[in-house]
């Protein structure tokens, strides 16, 4: 709303999601918001078409449908044609835990980061979203913002493409994580002899920061795919991943239930990291 006040090029495209949340926007700018319905492939193509004529589009709907289903439209219509815009999803990872595997989304970051020229952002907090959206929304690139209903509440300096050092005690093990899971990871790591690094930008990953810890054993903890693969861009790392396994998540409930089941709750994470420390012998 605030950006739209100063930027008449902004157009909002909704996929029949969050429509009520945009009521004030629609009241104020009725010609700049379109609930185009449940047709995610076309939403992306339309966004590309709007962008081609100098407008600054945002498209918003549920993560798996706007990314996994619409991957080819993002790849060709937006990235290949360089008709950039902003894709803002909701329902990250297991936010819609109760809806089951059809609504879980954990490949979006991993697949989108493969597309040339795209920016992939997983804001973990309201502040991160606010800062990163303002800095990136009109740069002409395709930018993916992966929103969550469960943000962390840790206040960090935010700059696009830059990770944050949460804790550096010169340990032999460095935990790296991204997005809202930081809350659980920080709680788990607080009293353990590990370094902790945090990312909100998955692409471009902060290679310089990753490389700074290349002499340590890096443990990536994430409730999605994509961060680990991004970190592996940096050569000569000793890096392993803790998060999702090679099976569908067949449980319902709330996000904390799923995180506990996957061993991503603070207690399980603490045990896992402690075991890793013992095995490493540090």
């Amino acid at each position: 709303m605030d950006l739209s006040l100063h930027d008449e090029r902004i157009v909002m495209i909704l996929g029949d999601v969050s429509v009520y949340l945009f009521k004030d926007f629609n009241d104020k700018y009725p010609n700049r918001l379109f609930n185009m319905g449940i047709c995610e492939n076309t939403l992306i193509s339309v966004v590309a078409g709007l962008s081609s004529q100098g407008l600054v589009p945002f498209v918003h709907t549920i993560a798996p449908f706007v990314t996994e289903r619409s991957f080819e439209q993002i790849k060709l219509d937006m990235c290949y044609n360089k008709f950039g815009g902003n894709i803002v999803s909701c329902g990250a990872s297991f936010d819609y835990a109760w809806d089951g595997a059809t609504h879980h989304c954990y490949t979006d970051l991993a697949i989108l980061r493969l597309l040339p020229g795209i920016e992939v952002i997983q804001p973990g907090s309201y502040k991160e979203l606010d800062v990163l959206l303002r800095s990136q929304y009109d740069n002409g690139n395709t930018t993916y913002f992966r929103l969550s209903d469960h943000p962390h509440e840790i206040d960090l300096p935010v700059q696009f493409g830059k990770g944050a050092v949460i804790k550096d005690i010169g340990a032999e093990i460095t935990v790296m994580t991204a997005g809202p899971l930081l809350g659980n990871v920080l709680e788990a790591c607080r009293d353990l002899p590990v370094n902790l690094i945090y990312f909100h930008t998955i692409k471009p990953i902060d290679r310089e920061l990753v490389a700074r810890y290349s002499r340590t054993k890096i443990l990536v903890i994430h409730d999605a795919f994509g961060l680990y693969e991004a970190i592996c861009e940096v050569p000569n790392l000793r890096v392993s991943y803790h998060g999702l396994s090679d099976e569908f998540c067949g449980w319902y409930g709330a996000v904390h239930d799923i995180r506990r089941k996957l061993g991503l709750d603070p207690k399980s994470l603490k045990e896992f990291i402690k075991n890793t420390i013992e095995k490493t012998g540090s």
């Binding site: 379109f34 492939n41 992306i44 193509s45 339309v46 044609n81």
Partner: protein, 260 residues
């Protein structure tokens, strides 16, 4: 067949022969359509990025060779450049790249994408309160893709009276999933629909020029390979085949004799 459309077809044949690439029959079905659109839209070959221009998109992007030959004939670039068609470092690929070819508004190729882009562009023109128009050619085989119908639904729902869809009804869909009575289907989606002979430039022109109150669809009944009986009689074999020298001679003769 009007002379200019025959000349465009001859270039398509010669370039396909020289390069070993090209979907000739699908190009041949839309030569009159493309020529009629460019004859009725605002464009300026000497300045392809002229800000007041209308937009033409080829959603069935595999007919790129036909598009290149049409653009060359209109003066966008020298036809000689197109003879590098499909070769390494050529600007003229088998599917067009908007960054390489003047007059290409979007890089298309994967079927069912161009029409969604066209809807976005037409919506942008409405939002910017300009009278610029968007013309998009879709194939009947391409219309097996669900995104075609998603895009049509969105276009009619937001009232894009500046969008004209030309449906190349060359019966290529007959190979697989058939779309019977396409005009009826577009009407059911609330479009304004006319049906014309897609090789009759005098019939096509006025229907393309018209701008109504709704999304406009011109169902152009065409013949895949129109101009050469060899293509028409043996469509499957020639879908993606280039003529050798003796075949080229035969096809040019067929074209001159207007065997179909």
């Amino acid at each position: 067949m009007i002379p200019v459309c025959k000349e465009i077809r001859k270039e398509i044949l010669k370039i396909s022969n020289a390069s070993g690439h090209g979907h000739i029959p699908t190009c041949f079905s839309i030569v009159e359509i493309m020529y009629a659109v460019y004859s009725n839209m605002k464009h300026y070959p000497k300045n392809p990025l002229w800000e007041e221009r209308d937009v033409f998109l080829l959603s069935k992007g595999h007919a790129a060779l036909g598009h290149y030959c049409t653009l060359a004939k209109l003066g966008y670039f020298d036809i000689k450049r197109v003879y590098s068609f499909g070769s390494f470092m050529s600007d003229f690929g088998c599917h067009a790249d908007r960054f390489k070819v003047p007059g290409i508004e979007a890089s298309t190729g994967s079927l069912g994408h161009g029409i969604g882009l066209a809807v976005g562009m037409a919506l942008a023109f409405k939002l910017k309160k300009t009278d610029r128009r968007v013309f998009v050619v879709i194939g009947d085989g391409e219309s097996n893709e669900g995104t075609i119908w998603e895009a049509v639904m969105v276009a009619t729902n937001v009232g894009l009276d500046n969008l004209t869809i030309i449906y190349d009804n060359n019966m290529s869909h007959g190979r697989g999933l058939q779309i019977r009575n396409p005009a009826e289907r577009f009407r059911a989606f609330s479009c304004e629909v006319v049906e014309v002979d897609g090789h009759d430039i005098d019939a096509l022109g006025p229907e393309i020029a018209k701008r109504g109150n709704k999304v406009r669809v011109v169902v152009a009944n065409t013949v895949k390979g129109y101009g050469c009986k060899t293509f028409v009689q043996d469509q499957y074999a020639w879908h993606r085949r280039s003529p050798n020298d003796s075949e080229l001679e035969m096809l040019l003769r067929e074209l001159d004799e207007e065997t179909i």
